[in-house]
């Protein structure tokens, strides 16, 4: 494989990944906080649907007798989106004493900081990172956090497999916002994941989302996160080599492929 051939593979990679995740889906190009907030609005809307008198969708998997096989599609919405370059942190960060100064310093460095309702710590959004948001509503007691992560993770792992990139769920020591349910390829973190759980009576709404580095400089991402967290008074100790972008993996997979 020549460099020119490899370059041909990469530019449409985000589109190809999106198609593998959800054929026919469009990728929204978001703009900051509004794009982040859309996930929680979707969750609220899905929770509210059951409360409307004209709800005929059935099968939200939140009633005894709902067939999970039949309602899997109706019970969930999948949103694919990118954002402009920024950092996104759990909203609880905003209550910390040093947040305002740290956010101002980050913005001055070209990384404005926005808030999200899910857990974890600081992550990066930018046009080369695909955000994958899965919103589902279930009957309380029928799903837990691990299951929500596995639902999202299985979909992403399958899509990556379709692109020829083997991946799995796991922790990656040295990565920012590390956790047990990262998407890992070749021992490096390709995507981070987080969840929001919102109880609503006998139901529970769950948002599970991932930010997957498709293209771009993941080392620069790590620097931005570490700088912000240091300003927050935390003690970031990250290894840029713990992260990888999909483009690197696809190039190497193609280059190593038979016939080249």
């Amino acid at each position: 494989m020549t460099a020119a051939k490899a370059a041909d593979v990469v530019p449409d990679l985000l589109t190809r990944l999106a198609a593998a995740l959800a054929p026919g889906a469009t990728v929204e190009a978001g703009a900051g906080q509004t794009a982040v907030d859309a996930d929680a609005l979707t969750l609220a809307a899905l929770l509210a649907r059951r409360d409307t008198a004209d709800w005929t969708g059935g099968g939200l998997c939140d009633r005894p007798g709902d067939d999970p096989e039949k309602c899997a599609g109706a019970a969930a919405t999948l949103r694919l989106w990118t954002n402009r370059r920024c950092l996104v942190v759990p909203r609880s960060f905003a209550q910390r004493e040093r947040f305002a100064a740290a956010a101002a310093a980050s913005e001055a460095a070209g990384w404005p900081v926005f808030l999200r309702p899910s857990g974890g710590s600081a992550v990066v959004h930018r046009p080369g990172i695909l955000n994958i948001s899965l919103v589902t509503v279930r009957r309380a007691g029928t799903i837990d956090i691990a299951e929500a992560y596995r639902m999202l993770g299985a979909r992403i792992v399958a899509a990556l497999g379709a692109l020829g990139v083997p991946a799995a769920l796991g922790a990656v020591p040295g990565s920012y916002c590390d956790g047990r349910f990262n998407i890992v390829a070749g021992g490096r973190k390709l995507a981070g994941t987080a969840c929001l759980l919102r109880p609503a009576g006998a139901r529970i709404g769950m948002l599970a989302h991932a930010m997957l580095a498709v293209t771009g400089d993941v080392a620069a991402d790590v620097v931005a996160v570490a700088r912000f967290e240091a300003e927050m008074g935390l003690a970031p100790a990250y290894d840029a080599c713990a992260h990888v972008a999909l483009a690197e993996l696809v190039e190497s997979c193609v280059i190593a492929g038979p016939g080249d």
């Binding site: 909203r91 609880s92 209550q95 007691g141 956090i145 916002c177 956790g179 349910f181 969840c195 759980l197």
Partner: protein, 76 residues
């Protein structure tokens, strides 16, 4: 007096959980159904909802660890 408790069955007993933020202050009036706190566990944020209306009496400070079933506040 209504107790506000940490949910059960949403995560493994061994997972570390903590109150990441109270969204109301001790002594504030809260309405039933309002999200009054967030519990962080396994990079997930669980929204703790007020089970009743009244005055919030916080028993566990923000950023403190909690366990399943623990009473973290009372509403009177």
């Amino acid at each position: 007096m209504t107790e506000v408790t940490v949910p059960t069955e949403l995560w493994d007993m061994g997972d570390e959980a903590a109150i990441s933020a109270w969204l109301y202050a001790h002594g504030d009036a809260v309405a039933a159904g309002a999200v009054i706190a967030e519990i962080m566990v396994e990079k997930s944020s669980f929204e703790l909802v007020a089970p009743a209306s009244g005055t919030l009496n916080i028993l566990v400070a923000a950023e403190s660890p909690v366990v399943q079933g623990q009473t973290v506040a009372r509403i009177a």
